[in-house]
């Protein structure tokens, strides 16, 4: 908060500048002269930006397109007619008719002197420097022919800081340009490093010279990517390769749904570094710790490299592909014959490519003949799909990540954005600091982004609907709703408007435990915003009232007309790299690809014609129902591709029982997971870096995934495994490459109709992209909603399925942490990440801990009606009283032993976010 206040005025100015920028970038162009050549550019650009975009060389060291320019290195100087002295081009905007001269003898002399001064106090060990040939300072020394130290004198003997697993800092090489500090402050928001000392003594270090591990550093590596002088290095990759030895392969990060485009540096079939193009793609060159440092799993010795079957003694035995797939196809055929197609279920994967998910859907429907196909989206955003399809007609993010800067207000509800979608978190934090964006956080914990929030409503888990209804009532009573939008773009408002009338601020405060005044303030801020975005994630969806939660948010956005524009919309943040794609591809029991209902005869007919097989018409079972089916005996075989049910599903003790009963359980994965231990047959798949394909990120962006290394042993790309299996089962599935699969997807999926590999080579495309030449859609529902008119649907607050009582007096809510991912199949193999986040911590409020006699880092037993786990305590006041939080990553302390499998009646999503537990110190 102090940051916002102190920069209010500056933020307003920037906002105005930004307004010019938005207008400017579309049409207004001004004419300037650079070296006597006329150039047209937009008035918001700095001289440096205008030159760079026209390929005119200007030396610079402290400029990075991801950061606000600062003008400290004094190298980007130019001559401007009418100004007597040299001008720093990065902090001077262009003006109509401006006459600029670059690289004049006078300027070159000044640059040279500046460079000589910098070099005089910079070690000249380029030949062994990790950044050699990838160093802006070295390049400039080459261009300006600065060979040696001109100014001899005292030089620095500064510190090397490397007491952490990831970031190596050699301050002797630091040129104090401040890029890393600005990156840490203004983009990442960690503020872990800063200038200390003065004059000659000045250097950039963490406060009190402490280890980065003790600061708020998130090890995102963006300081490394911005350093122009080799002072910062990625520690795990040091000494692995020289930059000219590596082949860079551009692909997409395999972790969360942001879909950061990464370049894998490959040497000898190994990933030796990871980078990202600065200023480009959805992530603009920014990464998080998992994307930069979390890819060791690819070459882990624990990868499965050959097929295995379980012997009678229960041991795993290596077999040939032929044998393994014969067993699978024979058994599937036998089970199908004996019990019918619907006794078989398939779990597809949000980690695999679109092409693979599409083939899995085809395999389930055309080969096995069942709609029993689902994937982990059921456990995360099923309620988004059901909720947003009813209200808007399309269950995906309505906006793009780039849109955040056009927004005045962002509501973040049920999303720990900076930890679960770090790169989107950076963009929000940057906009707060650069453009004065206001954030309203609604979360039971002080998640890191609350530091930048204007208002934080700290509610009791499971009371979100009451809060949203309360906000709607305040907005309605104060007349802040958008009547024109409601009349022209939406329907059923009259029926709907009664539903919030009873939710007075007092009542909401009582139900949810939030501060009444803050609630009113939040409603006013959102209601009076020109453009407002809502970001939400599992905190909204993983409830028995998940669908209603989503509907309530959609209602709120429609009521204020905050939809269908730049900077205004409703945005579910998807958790997995390709969970959006897996849904799009029809790895769902009720939808074929492109959200085309399986019960619709016309649609089915089209697929039947293409696939040459009759398709099942009845909706299939969801993940949770499949497990139920296995338990009750109606499901006899499950084929899982890349999912780890044994940690990700609720009430996992029950899942284990169910899996034991199966006649055939096939697991196709890259590691032997907790789920794999139950398998009869294990098929080794290829990971993201070992195959071609596409992922669709959270803002509907279809991006190319490229093969960078060979898969271990005889492991195969998942799409090839599906094809071979299908052919063995008598249905011919033959593709030469994944491009051909994409062509088939495009032919059957209208929203992917215009997507093919040739276009994707050039740029990512956001669906709907209906035909060749369609540029894709960055904002949904701009003129009409996908379903025509937006539909207001009344909702009401219902308490969670499980409430606290004397025996279980605390509410447990689960989630993720920054340095681990999901069931740790991947992050668990990365040494550094496990050094940062080694074990499960159960977060307990200070007052509660005091009452229970629990101190920080005590071992605590957490027990629910379904089971008990132990974990170390993390005692602080960041979490609401009466609430405890646990991440679900850790297999040795699995939170999902405790969680409640109660389902949302429509979306069938389990209530991971609320269950009642007891705590005991042991």
């Amino acid at each position: 908060m102090p940051k916002i206040n102190s920069t209010d005025k500056a933020a307003k100015e920037v906002k105005e500048k930004e307004a010019v920028k938005i207008a400017g970038s579309s049409n207004t162009k001004i004419k300037i002269y650079i070296n006597n050549k006329a150039i047209y550019t937009s008035p918001d650009k700095s001289i440096l930006e205008a030159c760079l975009e026209n390929n005119i060389f200007i030396p610079h060291l402290c400029f990075d397109p991801r950061l606000k320019p600062q003008g400290t290195c004094r190298l980007c100087i130019v001559e401007v007619e009418g100004i007597p002295e040299a001008v720093a081009s990065c902090v001077t905007n262009v003006r109509e008719g401006m006459k600029i001269k670059t690289n004049t003898p006078h300027i070159n002399e000044l640059v040279r002197i500046n460079l000589e001064l910098i070099i005089s106090d910079h070690p000249l060990d380029c030949m062994t420097c990790e950044s050699c040939s990838n160093c802006a300072l070295q390049d400039l020394a080459y261009i300006y022919d600065v060979k040696d130290v001109t100014y001899k004198g005292k030089i620095h003997e500064k510190k090397v800081l490397e007491d952490n697993p990831f970031i190596f800092r050699d301050n002797e090489k630091c040129i104090l340009c401040g890029r890393c500090v600005r990156m840490c402050d203004n983009v990442v928001g960690a503020s872990a490093i800063g200038y200390a000392g003065r004059g000659f003594e000045c250097e950039i270090i963490p406060a009190f010279e402490q280890s980065l591990k003790n600061t708020d550093c998130v090890f995102c590596s963006n300081c490394i990517s911005t350093c122009p002088a080799g002072a910062l290095q990625p520690k795990p990759y040091i000494g692995k390769a020289r930059i000219w030895e590596v082949k860079k392969i551009q692909t997409v990060c395999p972790y969360c749904g942001v879909g950061c485009v990464i370049d894998l540096h490959i040497k000898n079939n190994k990933i030796v570094n990871v980078s990202s193009e600065i200023g480009k793609h959805v992530n603009r060159g920014n990464l998080c710790a998992k994307g930069k440092f979390g890819l060791d799993f690819v070459s882990s010795s624990e990868r499965i490299s050959y097929p295995m079957i379980k012997t009678k003694e229960g041991k795993l035995k290596k077999v040939s592909w032929g044998k393994a797939l014969d067993i699978v196809s024979d058994k599937l055929a036998a089970i199908k014959k004996k019990y019918g197609s619907d006794s078989i279920a398939i779990l597809s994967s949000a980690k695999c490519t679109n092409e693979e998910n599409f083939l899995m859907s085809k395999f389930a429907r055309a080969v096995v003949g069942t709609n029993n196909i689902d994937h982990c989206a059921r456990l995360c955003h099923a309620s988004t799909v059901t909720g947003l399809i009813q209200t808007f007609g399309s269950g995906a993010m309505t906006n793009s990540v780039e849109d955040i800067k056009h927004s005045d207000v962002v509501i973040i509800i049920g999303s720990n954005t900076t930890e679960t979608h770090p790169v989107i978190g950076y963009e929000i934090i940057r906009c707060v600091q650069e453009y004065g964006l206001k954030i309203i956080v609604i979360d039971p914990r002080n998640i890191p982004i609350t530091r930048y929030a204007t208002i934080h409503l700290k509610q009791k888990p499971g009371t979100d609907i009451a809060i949203i209804l309360g906000i709607m009532k305040i907005i309605y009573d104060k007349g802040l709703y958008n009547e024109e939008f409601i009349d022209s773009r939406a329907e059923d408002f009259d029926k709907f408007s009664k539903c919030f009338s009873a939710y007075t601020a007092e009542k909401v405060a009582e139900i949810s435990g939030v501060d009444k005044q803050s609630l009113i303030e939040a409603a006013k801020i959102y209601g009076s915003a020109k453009n407002a975005l809502i970001f939400y994630a599992m905190g909204i969806t993983q409830h028995t009232c998940g669908t209603d939660n989503v509907i309530a948010l959609a209602d709120l956005a429609m009521m204020t007309g905050n939809i269908g524009r730049k900077g205004a919309g409703v945005n579910p943040l998807r958790g997995q790299n390709n969970v959006q794609g897996a849904c799009d591809m029809g790895a769902l029991p009720d939808m074929l690809s492109g959200y085309q209902g399986v019960e619709n005869d016309n649609i089915r007919l089209e697929f039947e014609n293409k696939w040459g097989k009759p398709l099942p018409s009845r909706k299939g079972l969801t993940v949770t129902e499949i497990i139920e089916g296995a338990s009750s005996g109606s499901i006899k075989a499950i084929y899982v591709m890349g999912e780890n049910l044994m940690l990700s599903d609720p009430d996992i003790l029950h899942v284990a029982e169910a899996l034991e009963k199966l006649e055939l359980f096939v697991v196709q994965d890259i590691f032997l997971t907790e789920t794999g231990e139950f398998a009869d047959v294990i098929l080794p798949g290829a990971c993201f870096a070992e195959k071609e394909g596409t992922f669709t990120n959270t803002d509907r962006r279809v991006q190319r995934v490229r093969k960078a290394v060979n898969a271990p042993g005889s492991a195969l790309e998942d799409w090839k495994i599906i094809c071979i299996l299908s052919n063995k089962m008598g249905y011919s599935m033959n593709y030469n490459n994944t491009a051909e699969i994409m062509d088939e997807i495009a032919s059957l999926t209208p929203i992917y109709g215009g997507i093919n590999y040739e276009r994707l080579e050039r740029r990512a495309l956001q669906w709907p992209c209906r035909k060749y030449g369609d540029p894709g859609t960055s904002i949904l529902h701009t003129k009409n909603f996908t379903r025509g008119k937006g539909r207001f649907i009344p909702v009401k607050y219902t308490p969670p399925a499980e409430v606290v009582n004397e025996k279980y007096p605390y509410i447990l809510t689960t989630g993720r942490i920054l340095h681990q991912f999901h069931t740790m199949t991947m992050t668990g193999k990365v040494k550094g990440l496990n050094e940062i986040a080694p074990s499960n911590l159960v977060q307990i409020n200070t007052d509660d801990a005091k009452n229970l006699g629990i101190k920080n880092r005590d071992r605590v037993k957490v027990e629910s009606r379904r089971g008990a786990v132990t974990a170390l305590s993390l005692v602080n006041s960041k979490i609401k009283k009466g609430v405890v939080f646990m991440p679900f990553h850790y297999a040795d302390s699995p939170a999902n032993v405790l969680t409640n499998p109660a389902l949302d009646p429509e979306a069938k999503i389990p209530e991971f976010k609320v269950c009642a537990v007891s705590l005991k110190k042991i």
């Binding site: 503020s191 872990a192 800063g194 200038y195 200390a196 000392g197 003065r198 406060a207 009190f208 010279e209």
Partner: protein, 164 residues
């Protein structure tokens, strides 16, 4: 000097109380950081790391911002100052007029380098660049009192005479 080399200082209960009072007085005001650090420096004699952490936490600002300010201004010290703080000027005018000799004399007498404090915490020595009193050069400042046109012979006498 490395922070890691500093002896760990446990804040005394009355110091904790005093720091709390100081921060409360300025909290919420714009530009509160420097006055808070000044007051802590004055009342406690130095600004230990623990106090800086407390300031950062209570003001809700990053620790590195507090540390950046406390290391920027020579007025702030992270090691305890003596009951009597001697500041000698080595700005251009004082230097030319023999300031260096004065500093050397003090170093010899007290056995401490600039930036250090005597073991009995009686005296501490700092070297500053220009107090803006060049017409009176060379000068020293002891406990906020300025002594003008000092010569190396009489400086020890001055120091002992103004002992608190």
């Amino acid at each position: 000097m490395r922070i890691a080399d500093l002896p760990r200082y446990e804040l005394q209960p009355e110091e904790v109380k005093r720091i709390d009072e100081i921060i409360k007085k300025y909290k919420g005001k714009k530009g509160a950081l420097i006055p808070i650090l000044q007051k802590i420096q004055k009342d406690i004699g130095f600004i230990p790391v623990e106090a800086q952490r407390k300031v950062a936490k209570m003001l809700g600002i990053p620790e590195k911002d507090v540390y950046g300010v406390s290391t920027f201004y020579s007025f702030f010290s992270m090691i305890p100052r003596g009951r009597n703080n001697i500041r000698a000027c080595l700005g251009t005018a004082c230097f030319v007029k023999g300031g260096k000799k004065i500093v050397d004399r003090i170093i010899k007498e007290l056995g401490i380098e600039p930036g250090q404090t005597t073991a009995d915490r009686e005296y501490s020595l700092q070297v500053n660049r220009c107090f803006g009193a060049c017409g009176l050069a060379p000068i020293i400042v002891i406990n906020d009192k300025l002594y003008q046109k000092v010569n190396p012979e009489e400086v020890i006498g001055i120091i002992y005479s103004c002992k608190k």
